[in-house]
Structures are given as C-alpha cells and as structure tokens.
C-alpha cells in the first residue's frame, strides 16, 4: 500500500508541477492555460481515484468515487478545450456550441453525485457499485470526447508540413494522452468492477506518459517555449541547495568560504549554461525559419512551374485554334475566286475576272499576313517552328514565289524577273518557311518600287561552293543609310530610341530575318540612298 501511495504521489506531483510550470511560463497563452487546467483535473481525478480504494471510511470512499466520476466529466471537457487550443488557439467551435458543451460536462459532473450514474456503493471487500440508468449516456460522453480529441489532433497533425515543429509537438502530446486516455478508459470506465485493485491503478499510472512525453516535447521540441525555464529552475534549485548547505549546515568559517566560492562558481556556470541554452534555441529557431522559407519557396516555384506547363498547353491550343479560325474563311474566299476565274461556274467577262483576281490577291496577302503573324507569335513564344530537311530545290522555290507575285508586279506596271545560271541548287531547309521569308522580301521590294522593277538572282559561292547567295534588287525608293541596320528588326523589337529613327516595316521582314537565321544564313540590305533602289542579300549554307 505504501509503494502504491508513493508511486501515485510521485506521478501526481509531477503532473501538477508540469501543469504549473507550463501555466506560469506564459499565463497569457490559452494553450498553456488549458494544458494546466487539463493536468490539474487529471490530478483531481487521480487523487479521488486513488483515495476511493485507499480509505476505509464508507462516506469518504463513496464521496471520492463520485468525485472520480464527476472529475472525469470535467477532465474530458478541459481536454477538448486543450485540443482546440493546441498548438495554436483555433475557433473550431462557436461560442454557443462551447457553452452547450460545458453545460453538458457540468450536468454529468453533478449527476455523478446522484444515483443516476452509479448506485449501491459497497466497500466491503473493495469498492464496487451498480450502474445507474444514465451510466451508458455518461460513458458515451466520456469516450466520444476523449477520442474526438484524438481525432482532432490527428487531423491537425496531418495539416502541418513535415518540417514544421508543431507537427512533432502534436505527435508527442498526442502519444502521451493517447496512452493515458485509452488505458484509463478501459480500466476505470469499462472494467471498473472486474479488475483487481492493483491492475485498476494502471489508469492512474498511465498518466506518467502524459508527463513524460510532454516533458520530452518541452525539452527537445521547444513545446510551450520553456526549455530555458527548466534549465533555470534546475540551476536555481541546485544553487539554493548549495547555499542552504553553505550558510546553514556548515559551521566551519574557512569551509564556508571555500564552499561559498564553489556556489559563486556554480552560479557563474549556471548563468553561462542558461545563456548557451537561449543561444542554442535562437540558433535553432533561425535555422528552422530558414528551412521553412526554403520549403515555401520551393513549393511556390513548383506550383509556378505547373501553372506554366498548363499555360503552355493552353497557349498552343489557342495558337492552333487561331490559325484555323483566321485562315479558313480566307481560304474559302480564295477558293470561290478560283472557281469563278477558272470558268468552272461559267465563262466570266474580262472585267469580272480582273476584279476577282484583285479580291483573290487581297485574300492571299491576308493569308500570308496571318501566317507571318502566327509564325512571329510562335517565335516570340519560343516555339520551334523551323524544321530543316535536305533536298530543298531553291530554283523551283524561287520560281514559285515569282509566279505568285507576277500578277501583282503586272498590276503595278513593273517587271519581275528571275535569272540564274543554275538548273537547281539543293539545300537543307524548311521549305514553307524559307519560301515565306523570300516571299516577304520580294513582296516588300514590289511594294516600294513605282517604276522599273525587281530582279531576283541566285548564285553559289564561286570560290568554294560553301554558300549560295540570293539577291533581290529593285529600282525603288531606296533606303536611307541610317535605317539599313534596323531593316530586319520588327518595330516591336526596337528600342524607344530606334523607333524614333526607323519607320515601321511591319513583321514581314523581321520574320524573314528570323527564319533565315534559323537556317544558319545571313540577310542584309544595301542601298545607295533614297531614290536609288535597294538590294537585299540572303546567304544560305550549302
């Protein structure tokens, strides 16, 4: 019996001390307050639980048995409030719900002193009783709250990021209460009358897990921020003991002086120890803060990457859809003109055909504008739009461009000719893109030539046949010297300064420059000045 009393007292005092330590460390924190309240109710419950079997007076024993039941109801109530406030206070329940909850706990606590929950108490051999009509309801209230608290803490545990310290804090506190609550429920609520007293005490003893795990979390995981307090407390207690020994128990003066020096040294050492603990905590806090920052940054970047990939998909779909929607109607206009011009719908007058050809030309120009625009969009969006394939015939390609532009030249009353000594020159190219880029330059030359004409030439490098040079010479308005360098920059690419000096040439030439660059070629323009025509050069590797 003395051993049991000793163990119970030890656990009781340590739980009470733990609660007080936590409470006085930060009276303003609701987390600390509810922890202290819960541990206090634990000690009340443990004391009454112990005393109901320890005392031989019937009146006292039955009082403590009823207090045991009453305190358990209040204890689970405090436990739930602790869970709601740990590790940070949260408004999980509305004030109204909290009020109803407290009322029901008080209701069960008061009923514990009636015969509705327990009755016919007997202490002949050991304390025993019969269950009252509301016992089942009481048991349900206790169990649902204990396990509800576990569930809520587990839910919070999962919510925290794995490197956040709160997660570990929850884990330790949860473990302590999980062992205590489960053991106490089984032994003291359900098997109360069946177990021998020694086993029955397991419920009280298991409270040591709460103290143990919480203390561990306090020291190792900085729970309630009282590692420093624990250290300081230890230092002060030892220092006090040493002082009592020195001042009261030591009679010899020289020994007193000797011990006094020891006490001072210990206090200096203790001070250094406390300081080092503070420093260590600060360091760890800083490191943890950094780790969380890094983790956050990583998450942000990961999310941004995912969003970018998604955006890229949307962008591609958008480009595809735009291509389709813009080109389709233009193709239809051109197609109908084709039918009418070729006489499929009956013979047309020369005047009608002339008009149809003009409509068709506008549609074709627009189709090319759309193509250029979309190609530029793709270039600007960083999508590879050029795929080089060997065996592309340049003579045939240029002839196609000339044929397509012949009509426009004729309508402008200028000549357009292609002269070359070569029968065919094969290079690696993206045929459609290269054709579009040469077309843009020829089209540009025709546009700015009012009289005379445009002549296109093609000749391989005479010396080593490493390159082939395409020339597009016109007798048009020419280009001022200061603008030659910026001819192949899209207006949208120019700096504000350059925009003042160069007039916009649209996106056609810019795109031509980009495509030729992607063929590992060079493009440049020469002009003697305004009114003296210009010559465009495209150099492509053979």
């Amino acid at each position: 019996m003395t051993l049991e009393l000793g163990i119970t007292l030890l656990i009781l005092v340590s739980i009470l001390a733990l609660g007080l330590l936590v409470y006085f460390n930060n009276k303003n924190s609701s987390t600390n307050r509810w922890f202290a309240a819960t541990t206090f109710m634990m000690t009340v419950w443990m004391a009454s639980n112990f005393l109901e079997n320890y005392l031989s007076s019937f009146n006292l024993a039955s009082f403590f048995l009823r207090l045991d039941f009453a305190s358990a109801a209040i204890l689970v109530c405090f436990w739930i409030f602790f869970c709601l406030n740990f590790p940070q206070p949260e408004n999980f329940l509305s004030i109204k719900k909290k009020f109803v909850f407290i009322l029901s706990a008080i209701f069960f606590a008061i009923l514990s002193f009636s015969d509705l929950i327990i009755k016919n108490i007997n202490i002949d051999n050991r304390i025993s009783f019969d269950v009252g009509i509301l016992f089942a309801l009481y048991a349900f209230f206790i169990v649902i709250n204990i396990f509800g608290g576990y569930g809520y803490l587990i839910w919070k545990y999962r919510k925290y990021n794995s490197i956040e310290i709160q997660r570990t804090q929850i884990l330790y506190v949860l473990l302590g209460f999980l062992i205590f609550g489960s053991v106490a429920t089984v032994t003291n609520l359900f098997l109360q009358s069946m177990l021998p007293v020694a086993l029955f005490r397991m419920g009280i003893y298991s409270a040591i897990f709460v103290a143990g795990f919480t203390a561990y979390a306090i020291v190792k995981k900085k729970l309630f921020g009282i590692k420093v307090v624990l250290t300081a407390l230890l230092v002060v207690v030892i220092a006090s003991l040493l002082m009592v020994d020195t001042l009261l128990l030591t009679k010899n003066l020289s020994l007193q002086i000797f011990k006094g020096v020891g006490v001072v040294l210990f206090m200096i050492f203790g001070y250094a120890l406390i300081k080092s603990v503070i420093k260590e905590i600060e360091q760890k806090e800083k490191m943890r803060g950094m780790a969380i920052e890094i983790d956050k940054a990583y998450r942000v970047e990961k999310k941004a990457n995912e969003e970018l990939t998604e955006l890229d998909k949307v962008k591609n779909q958008f480009l595809m859809q735009t291509q389709h929607d813009l080109r389709s109607p233009l193709g239809v206009i051109r197609g109908y003109c084709d039918l009418l011009i070729s006489g499929t719908m009956g013979k047309q007058s020369a005047k009608t055909i002339d008009v149809l050809q003009r409509i068709q030309m506008v549609a074709e120009d627009k189709i090319r504008d759309v193509n250029n625009f979309l190609d530029v969009a793709q270039f600007r969006l960083g999508k590879g739009v050029v795929s080089l394939k060997p065996g592309v015939g340049l003579v045939a390609l240029i002839n196609e461009v000339i044929n397509a532009e012949k009509l426009k030249a004729r309508q402008n009353s200028i000549y357009l000719k292609f002269e070359t000594a070569e029968s065919e020159v094969l290079i690696s190219a993206d045929r459609e893109k290269l054709k579009a880029s040469i077309f843009n330059i020829v089209d540009n030359a025709i546009k700015y030539t009012k009289s005379g004409g445009v002549s296109v030439g093609l000749q391989p490098d005479i010396h080593n046949r490493k390159n082939v040079l395409i020339t597009i010479k016109d007798t048009g308005i020419g280009i001022p010297k200061d603008k030659l360098a910026t001819m192949f920059e899209g207006q949208f690419m120019r700096t504000a300064q350059a925009q003042k000096t160069a007039e916009g040439k649209g996106i056609g030439l810019y795109l031509s420059g980009q495509i030729i660059k992607m063929h590992n070629g060079k493009v440049w323009v020469e002009s003697e000045g305004e009114g003296k025509g210009s010559a465009f050069y495209i150099e492509l590797p053979l």
Binding site: M320, Q323, H324, R327, S328, L330, G331, V332, R334, G335, Y336, D338, L339, S342, T344, M345, I367, R368, V370, N371, L374, D375, G384, V385, V386, S387, D430, E432
Partner: protein
Amino acid sequence: MKNKILIVEDDKDFVLILKTKFESEGFAVTTAPNGQEGIACVQKEIPDIVLTDVLMTGMDGVEMAKKIREYDKNVPIVFLTNLKNTEHTAQVEESADFEYLIKSDISISDIVKRIKEKLSLK
C-alpha cells in the same frame, strides 16, 4: 470510268468549292463532314482517292487515315489543312502513302493537279 474521290471536310464552303471543282474536272465526288462518316463512305463507295481535312470536330483526319489503313492499304490519302504545325506534319509524313497539302499554299486548280498526278501514278 469516272475517278471516284471522297472529300472529308467540315467547312461547308470549302466542301462546296472542292466538290464543284472536282465534278467539273470529271470526278465522281462523295463528301463526309467528319472521320466517322468518312470511314463509312470508304467502305461503301470504295473511292480511288481520299482528300481529307486534319482538324475536324469528331474524329480527326489523322485518326481516320490510321483506321482506313487497318483494312485498306492502297487507297491514297491526301491531307488538306490549314495546320502549319511541324509536329503534326511529321506525324503524318511518317506513315507511307500519305500526302500533306496546306490550304493556304495551294490553289484549288493545283489541288486538282496534284490529285490527278497521284492517280496517274497508280
């Protein structure tokens, strides 16, 4: 004996243009607005050549062509599209006896010319 051509295209105007042109050139023309109906027409009409759009609501042209190839290895299939997507082009070019024409780069008369060339090679 007229050459039979199947035109699979969801743009009604373009269908009308192609149908008129090919009929005036002496072809027997069947049309279908999407891949599913295109396959049905291939089985029913047994055309000499198939001219198909790529992007269509319902089954697209590439998928339809693959399905047709499962039981007909010979009928030439010509793609006619607005798409200038290099990835897409590559996908079609990998498989034999497919040809790929871009609507904006070719006139209606040229389409007829290419189809005739393709048929005379047979």
